[in-house]
C-alpha cells in the first residue's frame, strides 16, 4: 500500500513537473505539495485586502478571474467526457434531478390566456448548455410549453463556443428560445431588473471571485417570487464516506485529468476549489443574507452531500 502510494505520488509529481516545464505560467507548486501529502486545506490568510483563493493558493483578486478563465478554456473541449470519468456518470443524474425538481415551463392547460407565456430562465456559468438543453427539453416534453426561453451566460468564450456547437444538435439552435451571452455573473448589466423567473447556476458558483456580489446580482435580476437554484459540490456528511471521497478527489481526479484531458493542473484546481467551497449551512446563510427565502432547511444533498442543490425564492 505504502509503496504503491509513493509510486502514484511520484508519477503525479513527474507529470506535473513536465507540465510546469512546458507551461511555466500555471505553476501550482503549493498545490502539488498538497496533493502529495493529502493534508486538509491550509487556513486562508484572514482579511488580506485584495486577495482571494484559487484552489489552495492565495492570489490577487484581479488574477483569479483570469486564471479560472485559463482553466476552463483548457478543459472546454473535453468537459463532458471528463465529467463522466470523474463522477462515474453520476453528474448526469444530478443534473436531471436538478431540472426535474425545478419543473420549468408553464403548461398551456393551466395558464391563463393573458399574462406571459413560458418562463424566462437565466443559466449562469452554463457555457456548454448542459442545464439549458435539459430545461428546454423538460419544458417542451413534460409541460408542453413551447415558449420558455433560456439565456446561457458564461464568462468564458471557449465554453460558450462549445455550447453553441452542441446546440446545433438540438431543436433549439437558431430559435429565440436559446440565447448565448458572454457575461460576468457579478455584473449582469444586459439583464434588466425583475425580469427572470429562474436563475440557475450548476457547478459554477465556486469559481466566482465574489460570491456575495453574484448573489446580490441574482436577487436584482429575479422577478419577485423568482427562484435562485444552485447545483454545486458540497461537503460529505458521513466521515467514513468522506475519507473515501477525499482519496478519490485528490488521488484519482487529477490523474484522470492528466490521462484523459492531458491537463493535470486544471483538475487539481477543480478538486481544490471543491474543498474550499463553503459547507451547506454556510452557503444557505449566504443565500439568506442576500435576501432570499429558503425552502425548508435550504438545501438538498445529492449522493451523501458530494453535491447539493440550494434554492432561494425572492420574496414577493
Amino acid at each position: 500500500m505504502q509503496a504503491s502510494r509513493t509510486q502514484i505520488g511520484r508519477q503525479l509529481l513527474a507529470g506535473s513537473k513536465r507540465r510546469i516545464a512546458r507551461e511555466p505560467y500555471r505553476c501550482f507548486s503549493c498545490s502539488i505539495r498538497q496533493a502529495q501529502q493529502q493534508t486538509p486545506p491550509p487556513k486562508p490568510p484572514q482579511d488580506v485586502r485584495g486577495t482571494t483563493h484559487f484552489g489552495f493558493e492565495t492570489v490577487a483578486e484581479a488574477l483569479k478571474e483570469q486564471r479560472v478563465g485559463a482553466v476552463f478554456s483548457s478543459v472546454a473541449s473535453s468537459y463532458d467526457s471528463m465529467n463522466d470519468f470523474m463522477s462515474l456518470g453520476i453528474h448526469r443524474l444530478w443534473k436531471d434531478h436538478f431540472v426535474r425538481n425545478l419543473n420549468p415551463g408553464r403548461n398551456p392547460l393551466t395558464a391563463s390566456p393573458s399574462g406571459d407565456k413560458g418562463w424566462n430562465i437565466l443559466d449562469i456559468a452554463g457555457g456548454t448548455g448542459d442545464i439549458a438543453f435539459r430545461m428546454l427539453d423538460h419544458a417542451s416534453t413534460i409541460n408542453n410549453d413551447a415558449h420558455t426561453k433560456v439565456t446561457v451566460a458564461d464568462i468564458n468564450p471557449d465554453m460558450l463556443t462549445e455550447g453553441k456547437k452542441r446546440a446545433l444538435q438540438t431543436p433549439y439552435a437558431r430559435t429565440p428560445r436559446l440565447k448565448f451571452v458572454e457575461a460576468n455573473a457579478e455584473k449582469l448589466d444586459m439583464i434588466p431588473d425583475n425580469s427572470i423567473d429562474l436563475y440557475t447556476v450548476a457547478f459554477g458558483i465556486r469559481n466566482f471571485t465574489h460570491k456575495e456580489v453574484a448573489l446580490k446580482e441574482a436577487f436584482r435580476v429575479l422577478k419577485p417570487g423568482g427562484v435562485f437554484a444552485c447545483l454545486e459540490f458540497s461537503k460529505v456528511n458521513n466521515p467514513l464516506f468522506d475519507a473515501v471521497y477525499q482519496r478519490w478527489s485528490f488521488g484519482a481526479i487529477p490523474l484522470i485529468g492528466q490521462l484523459v484531458a492531458g491537463d493535470r493542473d486544471s483538475y487539481q484546481y477543480l478538486v481544490e476549489s471543491i474543498a474550499r467551497f463553503p459547507s451547506q449551512t454556510e452557503f444557505r446563510d449566504m443565500i439568506q443574507d442576500a435576501g432570499f427565502l429558503v425552502p425548508g432547511k435550504g438545501w438538498e444533498d445529492l449522493t451523501n452531500g458530494i453535491a447539493a442543490i440550494h434554492k432561494g425564492v425572492k420574496p414577493a
Partner: protein, 255 residues
Amino acid sequence: MAPVRLAKSLLGTCRAASCRPAVAWRQRGLYHSYDYAQAPPFPPAEAAILSSAYAHVPTHGFTIDALKLGARDAGYLDASTNLLPRGVFDLVNYHLVTQRLALKDNVQFFDNGEAGKKIGVGSKVRSLTLARLRANEPIINRWQEALAIMAQPTYVPASLSELAKLADEIWFLAGDQSVDSSWYTKRATLSTIYSATEVYMTQDKSADFVETEQFLDNRLADLTKVGGFIGALGEWINYTGHSTMNVLRSKGVRI
C-alpha cells in the same frame, strides 16, 4: 455532609442548565399552552401560497397545478412553488395540519352542569373524530389522491406522525388524563379507527355521510367490546391462576 451537598447542588445546576434549552424547544411543539398563543405552523410566504392553492384543490386536486395556480393567486410565480421542498405533499400536509389545529375551535363542549349531566370522554372523542372527518368533506372526492401521495414511501413517516398528532389532539381535547400504558393504546386504537373511517368515507355516497357516522360508531363499539373482552379475559386468568395456586398449595406443593 458538606461535600455531598455541594456535589448535589452542582449536579442540580448542571441539570438545570442542560435542561433549559430542551424545555424551551419542547414548549414550542409538544405542549398545549393556554397562556401563550401557538406560533403559526407555516412561515408567511409558504402559508400564502398554500392557502390560495388549497382553494384550488376541489377542482384541480392535490396536484402541482393547484400549487401553481395558488402561487399565482398569492402574487407569486409558477417557479415559486419551489419554495415547498416536498411539493404536492406540502399541500396535503397543509390540509392535515390546519384541520388538526382548527379542531379545538370547531368543537366546544359545554359541560358546566347546565345540561344536567357531564359528557363522557368517550362521546367527546366520538364528536371530535366526527368533526375532524367532516372537515374532509369539501375535498373528499380528492382525498384518495392525497392518501396515495401520503402512502409514498418518502412521505409515510411524516404522514404517520401527523396521524399520531391528530389522535393525541383528540384525546387531549376530550380531556383524557391517563398516565399509564393506556395512554399509548388509546392513541394507537384511535389512529387505527380514524384512518379506517377516513378510507371508508372516500367511498361513502350516502346523504350527509350518515353511513360514515354509522361506521365510526360500529368501530368504537367494537373497541369497547374488545376492550371489555380483554378486561374480562385478564380477570379470568387472574382468578384461575390464583385458584390453581391455592389448590396446589392445599395439596402440599411448596409454591
